[in-house]
Amino acid sequence: MSHKLNLSCCTSALVELRSFLQLSLKTYGFSEVDRHQLILAVEEVCANLIIHSHACNPKELIHLEVKELKKKLSIEITDKGDAFNLLEYEVPDLKKVIEEKRKGGIGIFLVKKIMDEIEFESKNGKNTCRLIKNFPSTVEP
């Protein structure tokens, strides 16, 4: 089973993204704290795309698909904007961000901390970012 969402490229749609994820992540056995972090990671990627790749144009869309892939949770984010490769993005030093009083730049840092694997590909003008999280271990102590 998979859950799909087409998200309009405006920041006011982020609340819709969160409710979609809240529902679609419920079935996989993640704790509330884990789900919260997964939602955050997906939102950070989408917010980045909305603002930087699509210049907040509400007519453009980002496609999301939440599914199980190779016994892991996969959240696939596809769009046709300027490619933004998370994997090549160098995470800034926190102290530097504070010194420079920058208000951005830490979102991708969160994504990298939260997800177990990140995949990115750009083909024929279509970008796919796959955020992967291992399912919680069910082994009882």
Binding site: L40, G105, L110
Partner: protein
């Protein structure tokens, strides 16, 4: 949805965040912080009891003031965060840079320290 309430209590300015902070509304948080500081706040507390969510856009706002706080000797603390939100501060290591305390009374005692 984000609602901001400002409460003055003696020498303390409390900013209560109600709802969720994301890239669509973090500018409101920034404006409120700026206003409070411009009016000469010396002890700023963030009440997070009703904060359900904060993304990097909101965390970035707090971070952008940390240097000003230490340069100007302004006391700053956040209290009342739920487990999920508190965990997000920890992922970034912000719990080492910001005083994050369980409740208001603990936050207020911070202000009594020399």
């Amino acid at each position: 949805m984000l609602q901001l309430e400002r409460i003055k209590e003696g020498n303390k300015d409390i900013l209560r965040l109600i709802g969720e902070v994301d890239a669509s509304n973090s500018v409101l948080l920034d404006q409120s912080m700026q206003e409070i500081l411009q009016q000469g706040a010396t002890f700023l507390l963030i009440d997070g009891n009703q904060l359900g969510y904060i993304s990097s856009a909101g965390l970035g706002v707090f971070m952008s003031y940390l240097d000003d706080f230490s340069e100007q000797g302004i006391r700053f603390a956040i209290f009342g965060l739920n487990d999920q939100v508190s965990e997000v501060f920890k992922i970034l290591g912000l719990d080492r840079l910001i005083q994050i305390v369980p409740d208001k009374s603990t936050a207020i005692t911070l202000g009594n320290e020399p």
